[in-house]
C-alpha cells in the first residue's frame, strides 16, 4: 500500500481539522470535494471567494474550506449573503447549506433572493430530513417516507426544489446527486460564470437517519439506488420531477434551466446612474 504524503486538495482545505464530523458515507464530503474541484477549474482567486452557510450538518462545510467562510444563524444565510453581495458585488458568494436550513427555516429568504435575482451561487445539499437533530421530517421528505417524527410514513407532499426555484425566478437551476460528481463539478463551475441567482440541488445520502429508516442498509445502498434509478434529462418537465424513493419512477437529474435576466445589482447601478444625471 502506498501511503499518501498529502492530498492534492489539502491546499484548499483546513486539513488540520480533518477527519471531519460527518458520518461515514455522508454525501456532504463529496460535495465539498466537487466544490473545490470546480473552484480549481474556474480559476477564481481564493480572495474573491466567500462561503456562507446556516445551521445543520451541511452548514459545517465552509469550516473545512480554506477560504473566507461564515457560519450564520439558522435559515438567515441568504439574508447575510444578500447584504454581502450588495456591499461588494465583486465577490463570488457561494451558499452551501442543507435543505432544512435553506427551505424549511429560510424558505422565505431563498424565495425572495431568487425573485430579486441576486448574483449568488446556492448549493442545497438535500438529505430529505433534519439529519443533525436525529432525522425528523421536513419539507423535502418524500411523501410516505419513514422518519423519526413520521414513524407511520410522512403524510405531507414534499417540495420539488428545481421546479420551485425556476418558478421563483432563478437564472440557473440544476439537480445532481452525490454520486454524479463530474456533472456536479461542471455545474458548480458553470454557476460561477452565471450572472444571477444560480441554484444547484444535490441529492445526498443520510445513512444513519433517512437511509436506515427507509430500507437502505448502508450509505452504499442509497448511492446504488441513485445509480440505478437516476435519469438525466436536461429538458425535463420540472412539474413532474419530484423525488421519490418508491422505485416506480426515475429521479430526474440535469442542467434544467439557464436564462439570464438583469440582476438586482444591474438594476440598482442603472438607477443610481440615472438619478445622478438627473441632479
Amino acid at each position: 500500500m502506498i501511503q499518501g504524503k498529502g492530498h492534492p486538495k489539502d491546499a484548499f482545505l483546513r486539513s488540520e481539522r480533518l477527519p471531519h464530523i460527518w458520518c461515514p458515507g455522508c454525501g456532504i464530503g463529496i460535495v465539498l470535494n466537487a466544490y473545490l474541484n470546480a473552484l480549481a477549474l474556474s480559476g477564481i482567486p481564493r480572495e474573491e471567494v466567500v462561503l456562507i452557510s446556516g445551521i445543520g450538518c451541511t452548514a459545517r462545510l465552509p469550516g473545512y474550506a480554506n477560504a473566507d467562510s461564515y457560519h450564520t444563524t439558522h435559515g438567515r444565510s441568504i439574508a447575510f449573503a444578500t447584504g454581502m453581495k450588495i456591499a461588494n458585488p465583486k465577490l463570488h458568494i457561494s451558499l452551501i447549506s442543507g435543505d432544512g436550513d435553506l427551505f424549511n427555516i429560510g424558505g422565505n429568504h431563498i424565495m425572495h433572493a431568487a425573485r430579486r435575482n441576486i448574483d449568488l451561487n446556492v448549493i442545497c445539499v438535500n438529505n430529505f430530513n433534519y439529519g443533525m437533530t436525529g432525522g425528523q421530517h421536513g419539507s423535502t421528505t418524500p411523501a410516505g417516507s419513514v422518519t423519526a417524527s413520521s414513524p407511520y410514513g410522512n403524510l405531507e407532499q414534499s417540495f420539488n426544489l428545481p421546479y420551485m426555484m425556476k418558478a421563483m425566478g432563478a437564472s440557473y437551476v440544476s439537480r445532481w446527486t452525490a454520486l454524479h460528481v463530474r456533472q456536479l463539478t461542471r455545474s458548480i463551475a458553470k454557476s460561477f460564470t452565471v450572472r444571477g441567482f444560480s441554484f444547484i440541488e444535490v441529492l445526498s445520502v443520510c445513512p444513519p437517519n433517512f437511509g436506515k429508516d427507509n430500507g437502505f442498509a448502508d450509505a452504499y445502498a442509497q448511492m446504488q439506488y441513485f445509480r440505478e434509478h437516476c435519469e438525466i434529462d436536461n429538458n425535463a418537465d420540472l412539474h413532474n420531477a419530484g423525488v421519490t424513493f418508491s422505485g416506480d419512477r426515475p429521479i430526474i437529474l440535469g442542467d434544467f434551466y439557464h436564462k439570464t435576466r438583469p440582476t438586482f445589482h444591474d438594476i440598482e447601478r442603472e438607477i443610481i446612474e440615472r438619478v445622478r444625471v438627473d441632479r
Binding site: H7, P19, P24
Partner: protein, 108 residues
C-alpha cells in the same frame, strides 16, 4: 472560462468492456496511475472499492485509529489503475488520491 481536464477524450469503458468505440480509438492512450491512501482519515464508507471501474480496491484488514478498515489495492492489481479519478472524487473524506504516471500505454 477554461475548463481543464474534461477536454481529453477517452474510450468509454466499464469493467473492461468498451461501451462506446470511437473510430479513431487507435490514437488514444490509456493513462496509468498509482493509488495513494491516507488511512488515518478513512471512515470505511465503502464507496472507493464499490465505484472503482477496474474493481481493484478492497477493504483491508488493517485498523486505523478510529477503528475503521481502510481500503487497499487488491493483490496482483497494482498496475490496473487507469487514473480515472473516480475514487478520488467520490471519497467524502479526502483519504484517497491518484497520481497519474507520465508514461502511457497505447490502446489496442
Amino acid at each position: 472560462m477554461a475548463v481543464i481536464g474534461f477536454s481529453r477524450i477517452r474510450p468509454m469503458m466499464y469493467q473492461d468492456q468498451i461501451t462506446r468505440n470511437p473510430v479513431n480509438r487507435k490514437h488514444f492512450v490509456i493513462p496509468k496511475g498509482t493509488v495513494h491512501f491516507i488511512p488515518e482519515r478513512c471512515k470505511a464508507c465503502t464507496y472507493c472499492w464499490h465505484f472503482c471501474p477496474k474493481d481493484m480496491l478492497e477493504e483491508s484488514s488493517a485498523i486505523n485509529a478510529m477503528g475503521y478498515h481502510p481500503p487497499a489495492v487488491k493483490e496482483g492489481m497494482e498496475d490496473s489503475c487507469i487514473a480515472c479519478g473516480m475514487c478520488e472524487t467520490v471519497c467524502p473524506e479526502f483519504a484517497i488520491y491518484i497520481e497519474e504516471a507520465n508514461d502511457r500505454e497505447r490502446a489496442h
